[in-house]
Symmetry: C2
Subunit: 324 residues, 2 copies
């Protein structure tokens, strides 16, 4: 038995969650039970020195984020998570203790995601490539392509916090950090948004049958709204002053136009952007109350193409390029 088996066993043991599958891990592939709905699948990677730095990240947080960003994609489809596969890339000398720390057991258990298989290879730096599968009723998945002229554009939660959290981590003496010095609770919350994002799974499931289109905000509001506009062949008009910001962001960035710019271009917030018919306003606000989550109208869908921003130049708000 080489170290490969021990490493993946340590990871799997730490990540092993709730629902069991009929066979695997341990076989060449995992065998999944036949579901009642359609299956949504997606893959995403987190890579050392691209998505995180070892110096400023705990392994527990890296593992959590690698699963959370994938669950966010399921949330935006309205799917319930079922299973995950993990491909680990590790440097020589990566230890069993480190593999265990990466295991994302808490989040997997909380979300009902069964880790059904894994793979380890040597690599020049640490990376986790996570594939997730989720279930949605046949023909009911939320797509980017369903927005119609007249629809209201909504976002969940607050935007810009993940970007603020990154600034606090990378510039501990920067102006944002200085302004938050007297509000350590707010600063910690922003850092948590960067390190341990939540996927809006409950919201996504609740939007099935309510939203006409949906996407998760990983690249930034303007860029992701552009994906919806392109897929739906419509124009998305955003009112930047309506973009919801957290108290942390208000303290850290007192200038309103700078703050809104950051919130709109920030990326990595993993909130959902969705559209609904204007007749569903009350239903959305009722849902917000039920989930104890702010759902804010930030614009509307019109005939046309592209993203149009009132109060700023859309080109300056192109968002967060994961390759940059």
């Amino acid at each position: 038995m080489g170290p490969e088996f021990q490493l993946i066993e340590a990871f799997v043991a730490a990540a092993r969650a709730s629902p069991r599958t009929p066979a695997g891990p341990g076989d060449d592939a995992a065998v999944l039970p036949r579901g009642r709905g359609e299956t949504c699948v997606t893959v995403d990677a987190v890579v050392e020195d691209v998505h995180f730095r070892r110096a400023s990240s705990r392994l527990e947080d890296i593992g959590h984020k690698s699963l959370a960003v994938n669950l966010s994609d399921l949330a935006s489809m309205g799917a319930r998570p079922r299973w995950a596969l993990v491909a680990l890339g590790v440097r020589r000398g990566f230890s069993l203790r480190e593999a265990r720390a990466l295991g994302f057991g808490a989040l997997a258990r909380k979300t009902g995601t069964a880790l059904v298989g894994g793979n380890v290879t040597r690599a020049p730096g640490l990376s986790l490539t996570v594939t997730v599968g989720g279930e949605v009723a046949p023909g009911r998945a939320l797509l980017r392509s369903g927005a119609r002229p007249g629809d209201v554009v909504w976002v969940s939660g607050t935007l810009g916090d993940a970007r603020l959290g990154l600034a606090l981590l990378e510039r501990p003496s920067g102006k944002e950090a200085r302004r938050l010095r007297r509000a350590p609770r707010l600063a910690r919350a922003a850092v948590a948004r960067q390190r341990r994002p939540s996927a809006r799974l409950e919201l996504g499931v609740a939007l099935v049958g309510l939203a006409s289109s949906c996407i998760d905000l990983s690249d930034g509001l303007v860029q992701d709204a552009g994906h919806v506009a392109a897929a739906s062949r419509v124009a998305v008009h955003l009112a930047l002053e309506a973009v919801p910001c957290s108290e942390a962001l208000e303290v850290a960035v007192p200038d309103a136009s700078e703050r809104v710019r950051l919130a709109a271009a920030g990326g990595e917030d993993y909130e959902l952007l969705f559209t609904t018919s204007p007749t569903r306003r009350v239903a959305v606000l009722r849902l917000a109350r039920r989930l104890d989550l702010s759902l804010t109208p930030v614009g509307e869908v019109r005939r046309g193409r592209g993203v149009h921003v009132r109060g700023a130049d859309a080109g300056d708000l192109g968002g967060f390029d994961h390759l940059a």
Copy 2:
């Protein structure tokens, strides 16, 4: 639109195969139709300077291999491939032309595998992490755990060729290369086994209901037989002199015991090892004729534990560790 989208579009366009799915690529997740059977899923990565070197590998071959090694895992489960997801890691400056070359369209089309989604991130070196899903009738997947005392152990094809191919690539003036100088066709075939392995998909599907256990030979005969022995809680006895070798290996390694050692420890052959009741011998040989593929008995299953090798020390044949 950042370069991420263009790169993955170029890759997907080149890899886009036959069967379409109801939605995605393009959405946050792909939506797969509800299948009639159970789904087998697995993930595997190929990483620059671990599994291949850019100097001795064409991008077309790297792409092919990244899919083939995953299809081999489906083959060993008896599953038919349905879909694949790809996570690409690329260096700065990776071009659209290179992304297109990596696209594994030919193999995807040939095997009925639909590429349903992808992701690109910056990385310190080129890597492809491929997830595949396949379908198998409920309760019929071939597992490692079904071998019973008295069963016959079989392998498909010939073993050791991939390792020989690696030696020819890495030591073009080595003794194996010198011995094959007058047989360039044989040398090319061995190199192709290393660069463009085949997955034994037809064989895997045909073994459902015939084999009691199955595994693909990625780590080496002795090591992979050990996985079957452990999962089935039996002993696997192998007769090394029975291990099938290609004409290329016979020419390149004239010493019989050295040759057999290489074939048994080689790894990366992606043939199948499977067990059947001894009453199914004739059925297996008939299958070999139908598939035009050699299926060779190489040992038997007995009560006990571990792998026992007649004609060598099993400890010396521990196989190929992908982390080594």
